[in-house]
Amino acid sequence: MFSIIGKFFIFIGSLFIRRESSRVYWKRFIDECVSIGIGSVNIISIVALFIGAVVCVQTYANLVSPIIPKYIVSNIVRDMTLLELSSTFMCVVLAGKVGSNIAGELGTMRITEQIDALEVMGINSASYLVLPKVLAAIFTFPLLAILSGFLGIMGGYLAGTLSGILTPEQYIYGIRFSFIPFNVTIAIIKSIVFGFLIATISAYKGFNTKGGALEVGQASTAAVTNSCIAVLIADYLLAELLT
């Protein structure tokens, strides 16, 4: 266990030594932003819209007391979305999509000797392949979190108003009621940390694949499960730290 964590940190260290020129990284970074960021917009949008809608409907169904004003429903949608859904839940979904993608790609490159081919050219393959992915994840995850937060609240709005749970005015009042701007900052910080964890853990798993196609599949699975666990542990630690 400790030796694996040690190797993981050595791996992260190796990303920063013997780097190539920044021109090379810039191009790789843009490519990865497109594949990690733009490539995840669809899934994130769908998940966020529906989760926002479900939270709205469920909260209303469980808040039957007449003393509680209706705008509390949208108030809860807002806090749930910002604090957990748009960062933690989104990242668990992304661990499945981005994590398996990174591990699968690197694992395949390892077993087909593409990584060896980079090494014999004198290129630091870990840095060349992985660093742009990590930077792209750190850059795009907060943007995805903002998108997902917005769409989550939109989803609640649509579900709440279309099904007559509350009026648009009530919903918007609830969204604005006792708003703490720092919660947005928390969501962004969390998504940056989770992006880093998912990208590095998945890359570590993929990069160290040995064997054949079967092991690539196993590396992808391990990347997703380990990333999810790391995200949830980090979520707890950040909750203790930031609130």
Binding site: V24, M109, T112, E113, Q114, D116, A117, V120, G122
Partner: protein, 248 residues
């Protein structure tokens, strides 16, 4: 010239290479032969520093390679071209981009010059006009040839090929052998080829090293290999039916 001295390597206590030494000369095609699992690929990986041997030295024109500073290794690496067993082409790049990759990463050549160089190498391996295709869209033999083109694009002093003609039809195999031989003669490269193929052994083996269970048991050339009196080598050579008949 490449010299290897006393290379030994074990995986988890199981000895795979046992004290291998040899000299691969400039302008010659040197072959490393032996049955499956005798450590040929591991020997190549040791020479390339992809696997670290427990013991031994590798000298490239008298320059020590293993256990050197990264910067010094990089200087020697610029002079190497490697063809991996499966070609090891980058899946996400076209044939042209694959061949241009070392130029992009290791030189400051202007774009037009790079393009010319890539076209030249493509033509050298007989693949003009396929530059725009992806590796998934070309056949196994074409992948090998693209791999050779990528290996020679930097004008290497040392060329390594791991089973350049395994899995190819006899005619394509011969073509690839001839291509490697030609390039070696033309540019006076030090070429090391790993192979099982008796055809290659007899036609292009300037120097041949025979490995058996991790040990070097014989060295010589394509003339002397048929008349050796070593039992293990005899078995290997005459496992080929045609040759057996020839001997009678």
């Amino acid at each position: 010239m490449i010299e290897i001295k006393n290379i030994s390597k074990a995986f988890n206590g199981r000895v795979v290479l046992d004290d291998i030494s040899g000299v691969f000369k400039k302008g010659e095609t040197s072959l490393v032969i032996g049955a499956s699992g005798t450590g040929k690929s591991v020997l190549l990986k040791c020479m390339l520093d992809l696997v670290q041997p427990e013991k031994g030295k590798v000298l490239y024109d008298n320059r020590e390679f293993l256990n050197q500073k990264e910067e010094d290794k990089k200087d020697i690496r610029r002079e190497m071209g490697v063809l991996f067993q499966g070609g090891a082409l980058f899946d996400s790049q076209t044939v042209h981009q694959n061949i241009q990759f070392p130029l992009d990463m290791l030189t400051n050549m202007p774009e037009s010059e790079k393009k010319d160089r890539v076209e030249f190498c493509l033509q050298r391996v007989g693949l003009e006009g396929t530059g725009k295709r992806m590796p998934s869209e070309i056949s196994g033999g074409m992948k090998k040839r693209v791999g050779i083109a990528r290996a020679i694009v930097m004008n290497p002093k040392y060329l390594f090929c791991d089973e350049p003609n395994s899995g190819l039809d006899p005619l394509t195999s011969i073509k690839i052998d001839e291509l490697i031989k030609e390039i070696t003669d033309e540019y006076k490269i030090t070429t090391v080829i790993i192979t099982h193929d008796m055809n290659s052994v007899l036609s292009i083996g300037d120097y041949i090293m025979f490995l058996y269970k991790g040990k070097k048991v014989w060295e010589g050339d394509s003339q002397t290999i048929l008349s050796s009196d070593i039992k293990e080598l005899d078995e290997f050579v005459f496992s080929n039916h045609a040759l057996k008949k020839l001997r009678g």
